[in-house]
């Protein structure tokens, strides 16, 4: 990959289009230098891999002994979580762990920068695994989960509350998979 040519005298370039009062005109040209990359339309360098299907994404990678996760989503868009019964899912053979919001530490009332501005940590926590209250209705998945066992464990529920959410991880030999983003 060739490198961009070093820009030359910036003051000279900027003065090309600036009016006498220092204001910039519409569509003015600030630099007349030609660059090798800037201002051209190069083909993206991961492009060939992506158009041939060769590019490897997270979900395409298999590791030996990898656990398969499945997420149970809320059937209601707005609901209070009365109780979550994970006992049946936990009792299933091959289930490594069932995780709910109760397993997560209390977040407190901190304000954190999550990369897109400051956010209240308790809101972020509620978006990862719902506790107390559900705020989204997750789409229901009919197919496509790679490990049916994990899916079945996640789907297990007993009628004890208005809503149950369970996440299970499974370690069947030969069963490789990925974690899903966890929405309640």
């Amino acid at each position: 990959m060739s490198t961009t040519a070093a820009p030359t005298d910036k003051t000279k370039a900027a003065s090309n289009g600036a009016g006498s009062n220092g204001n910039f005109e519409h569509n003015m040209v600030l630099a007349k230098e030609r660059y090798n990359i800037v201002g051209t339309r190069p083909v993206r360098h991961d492009g060939a891999d992506k158009v041939t299907g060769r590019a490897l994404y997270g979900a395409d990678i298999k590791l030996s002994g990898m656990l398969e996760g499945a997420v149970l989503r809320s059937p209601h868009a707005h609901a209070r979580i009365v109780s979550i019964d994970t006992s049946e899912a936990e009792a299933m053979e091959g289930v490594y762990a069932v995780v709910t919001a109760a397993d997560m530490p209390e977040s407190g009332d901190k304000i954190v920068d999550i990369g897109e501005g400051d956010t209240r940590l308790s809101y972020v926590r509620g978006n990862v695994l719902a506790h107390d209250k559900v705020r989204y209705c997750g789409p229901r998945h009919r197919g496509g989960r790679r490990c049916q066992h994990a899916r079945r464990a996640a789907g297990l529920r007993k009628d004890q509350g208005r809503l149950r959410a369970a996440q299970s991880r499974d370690h069947h030999p030969g069963c490789h998979g990925r974690r899903r983003a966890c929405h309640p």
């Binding site: 492009g47 158009v51 299907g53 197919g143």
Partner: protein, 161 residues
């Protein structure tokens, strides 16, 4: 676990025999059993078209087809779009027209667009948009993709002319 079934299919021109469970979707079979991970899972319920493959000349969402259903069929995935030596004009045009960013939808678009150009070498913009309506893209939007397909059609026609 259910008993596995032996399935024979021609995939990207090569005859393949594989074992799959009756519950497994074609998408799972392609990705997990045959390592054709170019086929992507987007939604898993037939909305997004990322897992589009050509099954006996027809476009299907491989997440909605069972692996056992393809016995005796012929399949094309994105891995079969290019030949061994060079990219298909569609792939070349997708690159040149910047018709991809993250690339998750791209395999589905390519398979669908190839299917279109084989049936209709001179599609109108409307026909292209209609044919690609089952494929969703959340990065580039559709204009660049449609343009890439138009350029690929021109290129294919100029080669064959």
């Amino acid at each position: 676990m259910q008993k596995k079934v032996s399935v024979q299919a021609t995939i990207n021109g090569e005859s393949q025999q594989f074992l799959c469970e009756p519950r497994q979707s074609l998408l799972e079979v392609l990705r997990d059993e045959l390592d054709l991970t170019g086929v992507k899972e987007g939604c898993g319920d037939g909305n997004c078209g990322a897992c589009t493959v050509e099954l006996d000349g027809r476009l299907v969402c491989s997440c909605l087809v069972l692996g056992v259903e393809v016995d005796g069929s012929s399949l094309t995935t994105v891995e079969g779009v290019a030949n061994r030596h060079e990219l298909h004009p569609l792939q070349q045009c997708f690159l040149e027209d910047a018709a991809l960013q993250c690339g998750i939808c791209t395999p589905g678009f390519l398979v669908a667009a190839k299917n279109l150009l084989e049936k209709n070498p001179n599609p109108s913009e409307h026909e292209i948009r209609l044919h690609l309506a089952n494929n969703l893209c959340r990065c580039t939007g559709y204009d660049k993709i449609v343009r890439a397909v138009q350029h690929a059609a021109e290129r294919l026609n100029s080669v064959s002319a």
